[in-house]
């Protein structure tokens, strides 16, 4: 075997491991942090598991905070995100297909406008969206969050680039010659082939919705309707380490390990969804389709 080849592989492996450490160590740290008391967090080495009892105590404290509001926050996040994803995918996938594989007047305009709205700073859109929702009396309802979530231009572009760069045109025209109508071609041919990108769109939409902060922050004023991301902000401002402005003895402030646990709970949902989405993203779906 060629020695230089082996040493190159070794270098490659080392680079990958270094980046793994960079990306993953902070995440692992959060896991460890949930087993520590606030004091141990600052006094013990970052990578020690202290006690499962501390974890259970933190769990109880977190889910007992403000009469169990954490549970409501998680449920709300699920409703808003899944609702947003369903509508977004339902709109984005056909749109990406239409933009990539059909020709119509206004196609480029649509692509251009989509890009402009994507580039527009999100903070600038908060007020207009709020006024819009208020004019139809939807503020402080789940719809004020779900409906804007359903507009997911990022996904449209993902689909557009996917359909325009990877679906073999000969396959489509063959199907058309075979007598499929346009909807049939999309449903029975393009959509199955597009499974990886549909998963990708759904996944990114899910993460974007789950992590969105400002839209629900502005739209919803009832604390019981907030999603977990906005909730986390309240937990942070209830933590002395982050908000020392007015701490006092004997008040029920949130401690950092409970905060770490809240973070862990919030991200574990995304992690699980990612693992499921990965399955659909596995190699070979399309490679198989194009091999004659």
């Amino acid at each position: 075997m060629n020695i230089s080849k082996i040493s190159w592989k070794l270098v490659g492996l080392l680079i990958l491991l270094a980046f793994t450490a960079f990306f993953f160590i902070p995440v692992i740290w959060v896991v460890f942090a949930t087993t520590k008391t606030d004091h141990q967090l600052t006094s013990t080495s970052p990578f020690t598991i202290e006690s499962i009892h501390t974890f259970t105590a933190a769990w109880k404290a977190l889910f007992g905070f403000d009469n169990g509001i954490m549970t409501s926050w998680l449920k709300n996040s699920a409703i808003y995100s899944f609702g947003g994803v369903a509508l977004a995918a339902f709109a984005a996938v056909p749109a990406g297909y239409g933009l990539a594989l059909t020709r119509f007047i206004g196609r480029r305009t649509l692509l251009g406008i989509t890009l402009i709205t994507m580039i527009m700073p999100a903070t600038a859109l908060v007020l207009p969206l709020f006024l819009e929702m208020n004019s139809v009396h939807l503020t402080d309802t789940p719809w004020s969050v779900i409906l804007p979530f359903s507009f997911f231009p990022f996904g449209v572009y993902l689909c557009y680039i996917f359909f325009s760069s990877t679906i073999p045109k000969d396959l489509l025209s063959a199907a058309r010659v075979d007598g499929c109508n346009e909807w049939g071609v999309f449903r029975h041919l393009a959509l199955p082939l597009a499974r990886p990108v549909v998963a990708l769109v759904a996944f990114f939409a899910f993460v974007a919705d789950w992590n969105n902060y400002y839209l629900p922050f502005v739209m919803l004023s009832d604390n019981n309707k907030l999603p977990v991301q906005v909730g986390l902000e309240y937990l942070i401002s209830s933590t002395a380490a982050f908000n020392p402005g007015n701490p006092g003895s004997g008040t029920e402030l949130v401690k950092r390990p409970e905060l770490a646990l809240a973070v862990l709970v919030a991200i574990s949902v995304v992690a699980i969804v990612f693992l499921f989405a990965q399955r659909t993203l596995v190699k070979g779906l399309l490679a198989g389709a194009t091999k004659e």
């Binding site: 902070p26 933009l99 196609r107 580039i119 991301q229 995304v270 190699k283």
Partner: protein
């Protein structure tokens, strides 16, 4: 084995004729079909994209009390003492972050693509995880990661001569710190996208390259990269625009460090501050429009260079 869906594809000419008689959509990528596919999205685009954007632009040219303001909001923004420093900050940040993005994401995606798919799935998961830690969640994490006495990286931080959080967050370091955090949260997602794009390169192309005697490096540069050009362009457009709109990182690091970072460090923070703390949505909208224009200049350049809108 035959479900209705496969049948309709393989049934052949006989069905074709009946369908045509039924007056179904004509064959061959018609216009009406195109409208049909984009209809729902177009409605959403108008409601939640065009109208709010249009309103924001309208605000930028309107006085706070109403009435056409011409360039008033813009000149006011330009003359704000925080305006130039904010744009200077963001320029430094973009230089660091974009170069890291393009180089490292492509290298990592190409490396993962050369691995067995199971191994690479594990790496993709590990790389992606920080993406789940957005917004408030990363406040907590980064407070600790950047603190030299507590961080798992304390050896590295101390190696750079940082003995205290205050020293890590000196003004000159901030563009690097934010680039680091932004890369940490954002890179995994783009690696997944790039990996997916690489996966869609037909096997036979790669096989052919191998037969021609190209080594892995040459294949990556000459075959793979040109084929995922559109994806790279897309990433750059969004990253450039997203980078100019930096908000979360300075905001959260400022919060986690009791205000060591100004709450008007980046232009988007400045716009937010002016909008909500001064209740001047018009001047804020003007700053947003400036950011939009910057993003569009970058985007137009890339769309033109990479032919992103063309379909062959």
């Amino acid at each position: 084995m035959t479900t209705p869906s496969t049948a309709s594809i393989s049934a052949g000419p006989a069905r074709t004729r009946t369908r045509r008689v039924d007056g179904a959509l004509p064959v061959g990528g018609s216009r009406s079909a195109g409208y049909f596919f984009v209809a729902l999205y177009a409605v959403l685009l108008i409601l939640f994209g065009v109208i709010p954007t249009g309103y924001a632009i309208f605000l930028a040219f309107t006085k706070t009390g109403g009435g056409f303001a011409a360039a008033f909001n813009f000149t006011r923004a330009f003359s704000d003492f925080r305006f130039l420093p904010a744009f200077q900050h963001i320029a430094e940040f973009l230089a660091v972050w974009l170069s890291a993005e393009v180089v490292l994401i492509l290298i990592l995606a190409l490396m993962l693509h050369s691995l067995a798919s199971r191994t690479s799935a594990i790496f993709r998961f590990l790389f992606y995880m920080p993406g789940a830690l957005a917004g408030a969640a990363s406040v907590l994490v980064w407070l600790f990661m950047l603190d030299p006495t507590l961080s798992p990286w304390h050896l590295l931080l101390k190696g750079f001569g940082f003995s205290q959080l205050n020293l890590v967050l000196l003004p000159g370091h901030l563009p690097f710190v934010f680039a680091l955090i932004a890369f940490w949260t954002g890179a995994g997602g783009w690696i997944v996208v790039m990996y997916g794009a690489l996966n869609n390169i037909p096997e036979e192309l790669l096989e052919a390259a191998k037969l021609d005697g190209a080594n892995a490096f040459q294949t990556a540069i000459r075959i793979k990269l040109p084929l995922i050009k559109k994806w790279v362009a897309y990433m750059l457009i969004l990253s450039f625009a997203g980078g100019t709109q930096l908000f979360v990182e300075p905001q959260l690091v400022g919060q986690a460090s009791a205000g060591l970072v100004s709450n008007t460090w980046a232009p988007n923070q400045l716009a937010y501050y002016i909008a909500f703390n001064n209740d001047n949505f018009n001047e804020a909208a003007a700053i947003s429009v400036i950011l939009l224009v910057l993003g569009l200049i970058g985007a137009t350049f890339l769309v033109w260079r990479t032919k992103l809108f063309e379909i062959n």
